[in-house]
Structure formats: structure tokens, C-alpha cells
């Protein structure tokens, strides 16, 4: 075998393993009437575990700083950090979904397999050093999530979510590809390093800037930033709740990965131009995301707007741009992932009133009936709100510090004010749980769902550890941030 191809395939080992796992889950799901919920969830979980081992092997045997597949793929610490995040999401998704799927009586085979395929797409995105490989990874992820959003076919809202997500997602992909083609025409390459080199001497033509702006719009859509956020509340509300949890962390983190790599790697030369575009969007995102969340009674919609607002905070790290900025985005993504998945886990647990019928009032008096559940939800809400000593506080601290260092003081002022506003809607749920009495038989019941509870427990441990002792996690983010510039000269 060709030595080059051998090295390439070894670097791709995690993706290959996960693809094989997805196919096994898909085939295993066909038999047995498609009702083996536990077995299929365990198979999905096992393939994520094997992928983690494969990732370790791939990192160990691959030459550091080398590009694979003729400059399409890289396995730098930046990519590895994001891959670990994606694998964590992919491991928690089957746990969150298992009881939920059984309760709503939908086939688990295709479901788990699509989650794994989406994860493969995200992993390819994180490793992509060429806009071609980044784009196909993005499409693999997007296509899988469109189907997953509409997986609950007996629910009208799920249909609505899937069709809105599909149409708007396809449109945003079109915008993205158009921008990409303009950049290719101007710079003569899709390779990020070659683009950065070509930018050195290139004239800032209108075509070039249009291409960059369209690419930014496509990425802003994928991270759900205002004004490209309109799809988020409807999709998050209508999609099956475990998928909403997955969508709000996995694809968002993947979009941030490519946003960072493309705009700080390939298009760094255009920073004076995109900084206003992205900065304006970040400010609008934080303001509108938090203000709109104030008025939501449906918890899923509220968390959707909250996830929009969190994308705004994370964009500050991208704007800061330095190593500190990249590091803060990575750390923020980790913190946001565990906090948000935990909060959605409780929404799944409390969904006793049928599909998508969960309102804030359902949480009334929860602390009296289920003190442990109420306390867990409180921890995740405080973490999302950024209150010490939870993880969310550390995440925001790093991002804001990076933005202040880079001179974006006005944006940080907006961010801090809006974080204070966000406390109102997070604590509104807490107030319902602890201070409202809750009429007998009116509040939501905690459903018996041992798998979901386990996933929440994992998230809770992470939130606690990162909040109290963030050093090792921040250090992991730091080693990756230093290398984003090395692989992309």
C-alpha cells in the first residue's frame, strides 16, 4: 500500500470507526421489529467509545503538524479538542434519547445512526483545512440533522421544524457556497493556507469582499446568530427534545470550529472587513437573544433563545482573534455543552404532558416534590446564567477577558448587561421550582428515565468540576489554540 495513503487513513481512523459504528447501528436497527431500544443505544455508545480510542491511536501515530489527503485534512490539537467535544455530545445523545424514544414509540435504529453520521460530519469539519472538505462535512452534518428534526413524524411540530430547517438550511448552504465560489475565483484556491498566502498580495476587490461576506453569513446562520437566527426557536421547539439538545451543542460547536479556522486561518488578512460584520452580529445576537427569551413561556423556546444569546457571547472570542480568543471559544464551547445538555436533560425528564407541551408554569413546586431534580436544574440554570461557582462563570470570564484584551470594550459591556438580563429568565424557572406552591396534580412529574438521569449526572459532574477547578480544561484549550496559526501559515 502506498505509504502516503496509509498515513492518511490512519489519521482518518476515528471517522472511519464512527462511520462503521453508524452502519452497524443502522443494520442492527432493521431487525427485531426495530424495538431494541437498549441494545441499539448501547451499540451507539460503544461505537463512540471505540472512536475515542481510535482518536487516541490516530493522534499517537500521526506526524504532528502534517496535512493529510493532499492538504484536505489535519489532526492538530484544535481539531482533536473539537472532536472530543463532538464525541462527548454523541455519547450523551443516545443516553438522553433512549427512554424518550421508547416512551414516544419511534424506531431507534435510524435515529442513533443519523446522530452518529452527523457526528462524523462534524469531525470532518473540525479537521478540514480546505473549504471543499469543510463544506462536505458541513453538508453531512446538516442533512442528518434535518432528518432528525423531523424524526417524530406523528407530531405536526416536528414536521414544521424539519421543513423550516431544511429549506432555510439549504438556502444558507447556497449562500455559503456562492461566497466560497467567489473566493475561489478571486484567490485561485480553496485551500486555507493557499488562500491566506494569496490574500497577502491580493487587491481588496468588491468580489473578494462579497465572497467573504456571504461566507460569513452562511457561518452566522449555522451558529444561529442574529439576524440569521429565525429558524432556531421553531426548529428547537418542534424537534424531538434530545435532538434539540444535540442541535444546540454539536452543530453549533462544529460551526464555531470552522468559523474560527476559516476566518482566523484562511481569511485573517481580511480581519478589518469582517470584524464589523461579525461584531455587529454578535451585539445584535446578545441583545435580541436575551430580550426575546424574556417573553417565552415554552421552556424549549426559551432555551432556544438562550442558545442564540450564548452564540453571541462565543462570537466575542472569535472577534478577539488572538490565541486567548481562540482558547476562550474552545473553553466556552465545552462549558456551554455540558450546561445546556444538562438543562435539556431535565426538560426531557419533565415532559410528562406529552410532546412539546412544557411551559415554565409546569415547574411550579418542583422543589417540594423532587428536591434533587430541582437542585440539579438550578445548577444548570445558574451555569447558563454565568453565576459562580459554576462552569458557566469561568466560560464567560475567559471570553470577556479575551475580548477586553483585544479592545472590544463596548461589546463586553453589552455582553455583561445582557448576561444580567438573562438571569431574569433563568431564575424565573428557579423561582417557579422553589417559591411557587404548585397546585396538586398541575406541575410536571419527573418521569422514570434512568438513562437520561445518567446523562444528566455526567453533565452535572462536569459543570461542578469545571466551575471549581477549571485549570486542566483551560490548559487543554490553550495547547490547541497555539497551533491554529502553525498549521495555517
Amino acid at each position: 500500500m502506498n505509504m502516503d495513503l496509509r498515513a492518511d487513513l490512519l489519521a482518518l481512523l476515528p471517522e472511519l470507526t464512527l462511520t462503521a459504528g453508524a452502519l452497524v447501528v443502522l443494520l442492527a436497527g432493521v431487525g427485531g421489529g426495530g424495538r431494541r431500544h437498549g441494545g441499539l443505544a448501547v451499540t451507539a455508545l460503544a461505537s463512540v467509545g471505540l472512536t475515542a480510542i481510535a482518536l487516541k491511536i490516530a493522534v499517537d501515530v500521526s506526524e504532528a503538524g502534517r496535512l493529510f489527503f493532499s492538504g484536505m485534512f489535519v489532526l492538530d490539537p484544535f481539531a482533536v479538542f473539537f472532536k472530543v467535544l463532538f464525541l462527548l455530545t454523541a455519547a450523551l445523545a443516545p443516553l438522553l434519547s433512549r427512554d424518550y424514544l421508547e416512551r414516544h414509540d419511534y424506531r431507534p435504529g435510524e435515529y442513533h445512526s443519523l446522530v452518529l453520521f452527523a457526528t462524523v460530519g462534524m469531525m470532518v469539519m473540525a479537521s478540514g483545512t480546505n473549504l471543499a472538505s469543510i463544506y462536505v462535512g458541513l453538508e453531512l452534518m446538516a442533512l442528518s440533522t434535518y432528518v432528525l428534526a423531523g424524526y417524530f413524524r406523528r407530531e405536526v411540530k416536528s414536521h414544521e421544524a424539519a421543513s423550516k430547517y431544511f429549506v432555510l438550511g439549504a438556502l444558507s448552504s447556497g449562500v455559503l457556497v456562492y461566497g466560497l465560489s467567489l473566493l475561489f475565483g478571486e484567490l485561485g484556491s480553496l485551500d486555507l493556507a493557499a488562500m491566506a498566502a494569496a490574500l497577502g498580495g491580493a487587491e481588496r476587490t468588491p468580489t473578494l469582499l462579497t465572497g467573504m461576506a456571504l461566507l460569513a453569513c452562511g457561518f452566522l446562520f449555522k451558529v444561529a446568530a442574529v439576524p440569521f437566527h429565525m429558524w432556531t426557536p421553531d426548529v428547537y421547539e418542534g424537534a424531538p427534545t434530545p435532538i434539540t439538545a444535540f442541535l444546540s451543542v454539536g452543530p453549533k460547536a462544529a460551526a464555531f470550529a470552522i468559523f474560527l479556522r476559516v476566518f482566523l486561518g484562511g481569511l485573517e488578512g481580511l480581519t478589518p472587513y469582517w470584524v464589523w460584520l461579525v461584531g455587529g452580529s454578535a451585539a445584535l445576537t446578545m441583545i435580541w437573544g436575551n430580550l426575546a427569551a424574556l417573553t417565552q413561556d415554552n421552556v424549549k423556546r426559551m432555551l432556544a433563545y438562550s442558545s442564540i444569546a450564548h452564540a453571541g457571547y462565543a462570537l466575542l472570542g472569535l472577534l478577539a482573534g488572538s490565541e486567548l480568543g481562540v482558547q476562550s471559544v474552545l473553553f466556552y464551547m465545552l462549558v456551554y455543552l455540558v450546561s445546556n445538555l444538562g438543562a435539556f436533560g431535565f426538560v426531557i425528564l419533565l415532559e410528562s404532558r406529552g410532546y412539546a407541551g412544557e411551559t415554565v408554569a409546569d415547574y411550579a413546586g418542583l422543589a417540594r416534590r423532587q428536591p434533587l431534580a430541582a437542585f440539579g436544574m438550578l445548577v444548570f440554570l445558574l451555569s447558563l446564567g454565568g453565576i459562580p461557582p459554576t462552569a458557566g462563570f469561568m466560560g464567560k470570564l475567559y471570553v470577556f477577558a479575551a475580548a477586553v484584551n483585544a479592545g472590544f470594550v463596548w461589546l463586553v459591556v453589552v455582553a455583561v448587561v445582557m448576561s444580567a438580563v438573562s438571569l431574569y429568565y433563568y431564575l424565573r424557572i428557579a423561582m417557579q421550582m422553589y417559591l411557587r406552591e404548585g397546585q396538586e396534580g398541575e406541575g410536571a412529574e419527573v418521569l422514570a428515565a434512568p438513562w437520561t438521569a445518567r446523562a444528566i449526572g455526567v453533565c452535572g459532574v462536569f459543570v461542578g468540576i469545571i466551575g471549581v477547578y477549571p485549570a486542566p480544561f483551560a490548559a487543554a484549550a490553550r495547547t490547541t489554540a497555539a497551533l491554529i496559526g502553525v498549521t495555517l501559515p
Binding site: F68, F73, R107, A132, S133, L140
Partner: protein, 189 residues
């Protein structure tokens, strides 16, 4: 006359094909009979193939004919003939203010085309030799495409196969009968 034709064969072919592309596209939305619309689309596909030949991209021209004019179009026609729709009913349009929408969309398109023409005026023309040259060797266009596709773009190419698998899976998940309906059907039998 013949000399003039030979000298100007490229612009003649280009403008003929360009007019056919646009006319075919207009026809697709103009004809009320779906079969006529589909055949009009066929004209667009073939004319686009002609444009590709003009650009020395013979392989893409062949793919355009085999896949679009051949496969996709036959599928369209099959479905239409099976469903047997003669003419589309005149339905009430959801968009009430078509004129502003048309002006905005058309204006945007005109701006994009203008930007393209403007950009073209100072950009160097693409090098046609690049379509047949790989690492200094000259070869056929098909060979060059294969060389690039299976070597430089091997990873995206393979990921696209996964994208297609997921698309197929998605179509089945969305289109399959509900399990409860199936069960009900089995019980009824």
C-alpha cells in the same frame, strides 16, 4: 461566408446556446403542461452541455448529458406520466404582492450579474490548458478530472458518498409508513 463562419464559430455557438439556456429556463415556468415544462428544461440541460464543451470541459459536458438530460429528466417524465397531470390548475398564489417580490429578486439578480461582468473585465481569463494538464503532463480532460477527483479531492469525494447515503436514509425515514399504521394494516389483514 464560410470563412466568416469558421472564424466566428465560438461566439455563434456560445450565443445560440446561451439563448437556448435562458429560453428553456423561461419555458419551464411558462408552460402550464408539466411535460412541456420538463422538455423545456431538457433544452436548457443540453444547451448548458454545449457551453461546457465550448469551455473545453468535455467530461462535464458528457456528465451533464448522461446524468441530467438522461437520468434526471427520464425520472421526471416517468413521474409525470405516472401521475398523469395534464395541466396545472390555476391556484391562488400565496404571495400576494408578486410585483415587489419580482422587482427585488430581479434587481438582486441583475446586481449579481453586473458584479460578475464587472469582475470579469479585470480578471485574467481562466487558462484552458489547466483543464487537461496535471503536474506538467497533458492528458485528456476526463483523465485530468479523474486524477484530481481521486487524488486531491479524495476525502471530500468519499464524504460525499456518506452524504448521499444519509440523503437516502432520510428519504426512507421520512417517506416510510408509520409503524403504527403498518401494525394496523397487519391486524386488518
Amino acid at each position: 461566408m464560410l470563412d466568416w463562419l469558421v472564424a466566428h464559430v465560438v461566439p455563434i455557438v456560445f450565443y445560440t446556446a446561451a439563448v437556448l439556456v435562458v429560453a428553456g429556463a423561461i419555458g419551464v415556468i411558462w408552460f402550464r403542461n408539466p411535460i412541456h415544462a420538463a422538455l423545456s428544461l431538457l433544452a436548457t440541460f443540453l444547451a448548458v452541455a454545449g457551453l461546457f464543451v465550448l469551455q473545453h470541459a468535455e467530461f462535464i459536458a458528457a456528465v451533464q448529458i448522461v446524468v441530467y438530460a438522461g437520468g434526471v429528466m427520464v425520472l421526471f417524465l416517468f413521474v409525470m406520466m405516472l401521475v398523469n397531470v395534464r395541466t396545472l390548475p390555476r391556484e391562488y398564489q400565496y404571495v400576494r404582492s408578486l410585483l415587489p417580490a419580482a422587482v427585488v429578486t430581479g434587481g438582486f439578480l441583475a446586481a449579481v450579474v453586473a458584479a460578475g461582468l464587472f469582475a470579469r473585465s479585470y480578471l485574467a481569463a481562466a487558462d484552458p490548458a489547466a483543464l487537461t494538464a496535471v503536474e506538467g503532463q497533458t492528458m485528456g480532460n476526463t483523465e485530468a478530472v479523474g486524477w484530481v477527483l481521486y487524488r486531491d479531492f479524495l476525502l471530500p469525494f468519499e464524504v460525499v458518498s456518506l452524504v448521499l447515503l444519509v440523503a437516502m436514509l432520510g428519504a426512507i425515514v421520512m417517506g416510510r409508513k408509520d409503524r403504527r399504521e403498518e401494525d394496523a394494516g397487519e391486524e386488518a389483514r
